[in-house]
């Protein structure tokens, strides 16, 4: 039976639509301070859905513009290249955590993902990590639960069972998932990440945010997202179907060289940032 479900999950992963290569290009353009207006719009326009999303965001209540923007070029003329770079980046990634209405509340799940994304970036900033890499921490946090998107969208019965057990009996979420589904959301996340050609850093964030890796080049991503995920749960930022909050091992604090107090301090702007992002949903 379990074998059967595992095969079905693997099949679903195979059927996941590929991550648009545009997203990778957007990340490159967004991180390149010398990219031109033309270059930026050329890349965004490769993906018509993304183009539409950027225009929708520019016309959202957040910007409160006096008139409707109808094209990408109008958006660049009006708001400038730097703002559109950041809008495009957020927009491209936001679509990847879209949850079908099912077991998990899409808005709560989205809020949790954004919360972990913002928290990962703030913690990375506090650790003094190179500014150029901060966006990668944001992305790592944003997609850390990508495995749950597949579970929720394709296996709602099993997902409900997992959440019910977590709520009634408690226990480590990945143990419950293993028992019910045969695979954890971390394992599913890694499989999706590999299909999408994620770099190791992101694979570690997706695949090891519950029991972080302490050594190696990508360990920092695994640890930072683990801390961000845990604190987002403590601070009740959204909900991702997990009723049990992990404890952070002393070894992780030592490895990162920070303390609980420092993380709380670094997360002061968290709610403001989330509120800002929420405006895009309107």
């Amino acid at each position: 039976m379990a074998q059967n479900i595992v095969a079905k999950v693997k099949d679903s992963i195979e059927k996941m639509p590929p991550l648009s290569p545009v997203v990778h290009k957007i990340i490159i353009v967004a991180n390149d301070v010398t990219s031109s207006a033309q270059h930026l719009t050329d890349v965004i326009q490769l993906d018509p859905v993304l183009t539409a999303k950027v225009i929708r965001m520019v016309n959202s209540a957040y910007f409160g513009l006096p008139q409707e923007i109808k094209s990408l070029k109008q958006a660049v003329v009006m708001l400038g290249i730097n703002t559109i770079k950041n809008v495009a980046l957020s927009s491209a990634l936001m679509g990847k955590i879209a949850l079908k209405k099912g077991v998990l509340d899409p808005e709560e799940f989205w809020k949790h993902s954004i919360g972990v994304a913002v928290a990962s970036k703030l913690i990375a900033q506090r650790l003094g990590i190179d500014k150029k890499l901060l966006e990668e921490f944001f992305i790592a946090g944003l997609i850390h639960d990508i495995g749950k998107v597949l579970m929720n969208n394709f296996f709602p019965d099993e997902m409900k069972q997992i959440i019910d057990i977590s709520q009634s009996k408690g226990g480590f979420i990945i143990d419950i998932e293993k028992n019910v589904l045969g695979l954890t959301h971390e394992e599913i996340g890694i499989a999706i990440g590999k299909k999408w050609n994620f770099e190791n850093n992101l694979l570690y964030a997706v695949g090891r945010h519950h029991i972080p890796v302490l050594k190696g080049d990508s360990a920092i991503y695994s640890m930072v997202v683990h801390v961000a995920d845990t604190f987002s749960k403590v601070l009740k930022v959204g909900f991702s179907g997990n009723y049990v909050i992990d404890t952070i091992d002393e070894a992780i604090w030592q490895s990162l060289g920070i303390s609980e107090e420092i993380v709380f301090e670094a997360l002061t702007p968290l709610n403001d940032e989330i509120q800002k992002a929420k405006l895009f949903l309107q």
Partner: protein
């Protein structure tokens, strides 16, 4: 008849430039205030001129200061930590201004007072400080009706239109006319830029006084296109199209010497006179007031 008085406390763009060549117009960065005969008061921008304004106040009294920030570049905010009003209990400072896509207004103002940059943090300020993030909208300050308008600058920047009874005052912080940044003659973009520029004319229309960024002269502009500033030509044309009565050139180029500024004003006054145009033209000078 109602009257308004505008006073300039800092008129320079980009960076303070004190020295023998800037004695007449002044070296402090953007700050001006507007007072009505009924006691209404707004301060625009918090460049280093805000310190000079602070010196002019009787600090034994309590104040409610309404500070309208055009945008958060240094030359428009870094006089704030040197504004004595913020350190005195009983005072209130209401800060209006835009956030950016990346940071809120409050984060930006707090950011420049982080411990690495400045010894006093905003949490330690004794006055009561409130932040009001603006969009394209309107709000009221006493008898003043304040309208805002998004301007073209590398960071979110707003212009302010203040209506007081029969008087209209306009302050345009940093602003460059919209243009086709793609330089590809795409008619849609060209038309869009034109339309945005026409909207600004509407916003400015019928002003008694317009104070506007006019950092460059036309000869300097080709090398500075996209930097978010207007030329003297741009702004005089805007004032003429919008039927403005009095124009103050503002946000002077830091390298501009007093003598050069005098020559610019004389040149344009002659042109206006020759064409029989009634626009009154001045270059804003620090510590000078104008009542209308």
């Amino acid at each position: 008849m109602s009257t308004l008085t505008v006073t300039f406390w800092g008129v320079r763009g980009s960076i303070p430039v004190p020295g023998p060549d800037t004695m007449k117009y002044g070296g402090n960065t953007a700050c001006l205030d507007l007072r009505s005969d009924a006691g209404d008061w707004i301060v625009f921008d918090a460049g280093t001129g805000l310190r000079v304004l602070g010196e002019s106040l009787d600090l034994s009294k309590n104040y409610t200061v309404n500070l309208c920030i055009s945008h958060p570049h240094w030359d428009h905010i870094n006089g704030f930590p040197f504004f004595p009003v913020i350190y005195i209990p009983g005072n209130t400072v209401n800060i209006y201004g835009p956030g950016t896509f990346e940071k809120s207004l409050e984060e930006i103002i707090r950011g420049q007072m982080q411990y690495s940059y400045f010894p006093v943090r905003t949490d330690e300020l004794r006055a009561s400080i409130h932040f009001y993030e603006i969009k394209n909208n309107q709000f009221e300050v006493g008898n003043f009706k304040v309208y805002t308008h998004l301007l073209n600058h590398p960071v979110t920047c707003y212009g302010y239109r203040v209506v007081y009874r029969d008087k209209v005052f306009i302050y345009l912080g940093d602003n460059e006319p919209y243009y086709n940044v793609f330089k590809d003659n795409d008619p849609e973009v060209v038309q869009f830029a034109k339309q945005m520029n026409e909207q600004l004319i509407e916003f400015v229309k019928g002003a008694d006084v317009l104070v506007s960024d006019a950092q460059y002269i036309p000869a300097e502009y080709p090398k500075k296109t996209g930097w978010g500033h207007s030329t003297t030509h741009h702004i005089i044309n805007l004032a003429l199209k919008a039927k403005v009565k009095t124009l103050f050139l503002f946000h002077h180029e830091p390298l501009r010497k007093d003598k050069e500024m005098d020559a610019i004003v004389t040149h344009y006054r002659n042109v206006l006179k020759k064409k029989g145009l009634t626009l009154e033209l001045y270059a804003a000078a620090e510590r000078e007031s104008y009542t209308f």
